[in-house]
Amino acid sequence: MRIKAMLEKELRPVELEVEDISYQHAGHAGVRGSDDRETHFNVKVVSEEFEGKSLVKRHRLIYGLLQDELQSGLHALSIEAKTPSEIGSL
């Protein structure tokens, strides 16, 4: 799946989860005309790339990588972006 592949390639994450939750938002305001699929995703990324970056910068980084998706139907992302040190060692 494109989102996962792109994030894996560019962020080399320690942890990555991508979940399509479009069904939870089907029909809500601002999504007129879209499919009920691939419009809303939960993304959880743990990557060293986020080290030293504010939350806004991390989210923008992710949005930047997914520009194409956002142009073609992707409507919203719920993002959890952490660094390995933030999640603590296993």
């Binding site: 809500h28 305001a29 939350l55 989210h59 949005y63 719920s78």
Partner: protein
């Protein structure tokens, strides 16, 4: 950014927070603060209300007053979705970031400066 703040000074009735002076905190949401039209916007409103934040809310779906605002703001903020929360003219982020700061207890100090 000033244009947006200036524009939000003229928010339509029902969206005003009771004062039209430039607010430190502006939330661009879907729907109004009393009737948000998406779950993310609703969460943002509920967090801001629970913190007693004095904020301005702008309904980006109310096209009569905010025609073209959605697309313009997406480009300006380099942020593809709503809600968007601005503090002192700077994008703080969307629902996730607000929620995350709220859970970490970072908001109380943040908004009361």
């Amino acid at each position: 950014m000033q244009e947006h703040i200036a524009a939000t000074g003229k928010v339509p009735p029902g969206n005003e927070s009771g004062n039209t002076t430039r607010n430190k905190v502006v939330a661009f949401i879907k729907g109004s603060r009393t009737a948000p039209l998406c779950g993310f916007s609703q969460r943002v409103v509920s967090i801001l209300e629970s913190q007693g934040v004095d904020y301005e809310s702008v309904d980006v779906l109310y096209e009569d007053y905010t025609f073209g605002l959605r697309e313009t703001l997406k480009k300006y903020s380099n942020w593809p979705s709503f809600p968007q929360i601005f503090v002192n003219g700077e994008l703080m982020g969307g629902c996730d970031i607000l929620t995350s700061k709220h859970e970490k207890g970072e908001l109380a100090g943040f908004f009361k400066q």
